[in-house]
Amino acid sequence: MGLLAFGDTGWGDELFYATLMTIAVSITAMFIGFLFALIFTPLKLSKNKFFNLIGNSYTTVIRGVPELLVIYLFFFGGSGAVMYVASIFGYNEYIEINAFITGSFAIGIISGAYSTEVFRGAIQSIDKGQFEASQVLGLKRFVYFFKVIMPQMLRLAIPNLSNVWQITLKDTSLISVTGLVEIMRQSYIAAGSTRDPLFFYSFAAVLYLLLTFLSMKLINRLEIKYSRGF
C-alpha cells in the first residue's frame, strides 16, 4: 500500500487530485451537453424540415462516430479552428487551448447528443392534453414551457439522464489521450514510473466503480424527490 501514500513517496495525493479532475471534467461536459441539448432539442422537435435536418444530423453523426475520433478532431483541430476565427479579427499569434477546455468540449458535444435524445423522448411522452390545456388557458409561451412542460419533462428525463451521466463519466477516460491529467492519465504516469501497471489500472477501475456507484446513489435520491406526488 506504500504506492498509495500521500506526499512525495506515493501516488495517493496525485490520484486524489486526478479523481477530482475527472469529476470536474464530467460535470463541465455534462453542463456543456445540456447547453447543446437546449439548442438541438427544439430543432429536432421543430416542424420546419430544415431545422429538423440540422437537429437529426447532430444526433446521428455524434452517436454514430466513435468518441475517440471526435476527441482527436478537437485535439488536433481545436486550436487551428480558434486561430482561424481569431485571424478574422486580426489576431495572428499562436493560440494554444487548454486540454481541460478541449476535453470538456469534446465530451460535452457527445454527451449533448445523448441528452438531446433523452429530452426529445421526454417531451414527446408528455400528454398532448397538457399542451392544449395551456393554450386554452392562454398561458404565455415562456410560462407554459417553464412551469408546465419543464417540471413534467424533468421527471421523465431523470432516469435516462442518469444513464447519460454514466456514459459521460466513462467517456472522460478517453481524454487521457490528449494529456489531461485525470484518473487514466495519472494511472498511466504512475504505472510507467513504478512498473506496476496491474496495480494502478486496477485501482483506476476501483475509482471509476466508486464514482459510478456514488453518483447512482445520489441520482436515485433526486429521482425520488422529483417523482413526489405521482
Binding site: 466513435p66 488536433f76 501497471p197 496491474l198 489500472y201 477501475a205
Partner: protein, 218 residues
C-alpha cells in the same frame, strides 16, 4: 482527402474483424452469464451480477489497459501457455471487447428472459415438453426476438468501442485516422472521411437489425 481513403478503407477491415470476433465471443459470454443470473443459487447469482456490474461500471479503456499492460506483469502468467494469446495486442483487445460486450449482452438477455410470459412456459409444461426443449425451443427464440432492438444498439456501441484498439498500438480505422491527422495535420478532412465510414457501418447495422426485427416479429 481522396488519397487517405484507401488507407482508411484498409483499416476498416481491421475494425470489422475486431467487431465481429468480439461480438461472436461476447454473445456466448453474455448468454452464459444471463443464464447464471437467472440461477436461483444466491452465490452464482451474485457472481454474475458482480461481473456485469464491474464491466459496465468501468470505462472500456481501463479494461483494455488492465488486460494488455497489467496481466503481462505477473511472472507466473508469462510462463503459461496463455501468454501466447495475451502478448498480442490484437487478442488482448478482442478479449477486453468480448468481456465488455458480454456484460452488456448478459443484461439484455436477462431482461429478455424475464419478460417472457410465464404462460408460454406453463403451456409447454402442460403439453409434457421436457424442460430442456422448453428452454431451447421456446425461451431462447422468444428471448432473441425480444432483445433484438437493444442488441442492435449494443452492436453499434461496440463498433464505436473498437476504436479504443488504437490505444494499444493496433491500426484500426481510428488508429490510422489519428496517424494521418498527425502527419498531414488535416484533422477536419480526415474526420469527415473516417466519420463517414463509421456512419455507413452504423447505417448498415441499424437497417440489418430493423430487417431482422420485421422478419422475426409477431
Amino acid at each position: 482527402m481522396i488519397t487517405s481513403l484507401p488507407k482508411l478503407l484498409g483499416a476498416t477491415v481491421v475494425t470489422l474483424k475486431l467487431l465481429s470476433l468480439s461480438l461472436f465471443f461476447g454473445l456466448f459470454i453474455g448468454l452464459l452469464f444471463a443464464i447464471l443470473r437467472l440461477n436461483k443459487n444466491k452465490i452464482i447469482n451474485k457472481f454474475a451480477y458482480g461481473y456485469s456490474y464491474i464491466f459496465r461500471g468501468t470505462p472500456l479503456l481501463v479494461q483494455i489497459f488492465i488486460i494488455y499492460f497489467g496481466l503481462g506483469q505477473i511472472e507466473y502468467f508469462r510462463s503459461t501457455f496463455l501468454w501466447v494469446v495475451f502478448k498480442e495486442p490484437y487478442w488482448c483487445a478482442i478479449i477486453a471487447f468480448s468481456l465488455n460486450t458480454g456484460a452488456y449482452t448478459s443484461e439484455i438477455l436477462r431482461s429478455a428472459f424475464q419478460t417472457i410470459k410465464p404462460g408460454f412456459i406453463e403451456a409447454g409444461k402442460s403439453l409434457g415438453i421436457s424442460n430442456k426443449i422448453i428452454f431451447y425451443k421456446i425461451q431462447i427464440p422468444i428471448a432473441i426476438r425480444q432483445s433484438l432492438p437493444a442488441y442492435g444498439n449494443e452492436i453499434i456501441l461496440m463498433m464505436k468501442g473498437t476504436s479504443l484498439a488504437s490505444t494499444v498500438t493496433l491500426m484500426d480505422l481510428t488508429g490510422v485516422a489519428k496517424y494521418i491527422i498527425s502527419t498531414t495535420f488535416k484533422p477536419i478532412e480526415v474526420f469527415i472521411v473516417a466519420g463517414s465510414i463509421y456512419l455507413f457501418m452504423t447505417f448498415v447495422i441499424h437497417n440489418l437489425i430493423k430487417f431482422l426485427e420485421k422478419k422475426y416479429g409477431y
